[in-house]
Symmetry: C2
Subunit: 101 residues, 2 copies
């Protein structure tokens, strides 16, 4: 299932921890704080549990947030980039079509 | 139509210009560089044209990007926030249901 995950995390070490976790689970960075890619149902649960644990860290701020957004094929069909298209965009798009069509 | 718009823009003045434009068109800031809300078809075209114009500014960097992502109801039904939920979240969600269901 295609997901978009974006974050606002003030602390550098926590932010790096989350970005590494997202990449480990197979997501690609499409913008500085926005990741996209395929997330298996089991990994979605794993990610949510890991994030909830990270959010209990004393370094986590009250304004910090992570958004997990599952995407319908519709979104990938009609997404548009103005300016720089992400490095892995064709791969991300290709995966979307392979797994969902 | 619900949209997510996110950006990576290095120059402060350009970034502020884009954020003001997004808010003007009725989107809400859900994270620092991520906006969501309803975008009429006419405003979608207007936004795209404005962004393409902004991307021609000498202040625009090669790595800068804006992503325009139309969202299916599915996304709003299953979105999750870990940590801080955006201020206008109920309103954004409410609008989603009002206009799409």
């Amino acid at each position: 299932m295609t997901h978009l995950v974006s974050y606002d995390i003030a602390d550098d070490s926590l932010r790096i921890k989350v970005s590494k976790l997202l990449i480990q689970l197979g997501l690609h960075r499409v913008q500085y704080s926005v990741f996209m890619g395929q997330l298996k149902t089991s990994n979605r649960g794993k990610l949510e549990r890991s994030l909830k644990k990270i959010a209990q860290s004393p370094k986590w701020s009250d304004e910090d947030s992570v958004m997990m957004l599952p995407l319908h094929q519709y979104s990938s069909d009609f997404v548009k980039f103005i300016g720089d298209t992400p490095d892995h965009w064709l791969e991300i798009q290709g995966k979307l079509h392979t797994l969902i069509l």
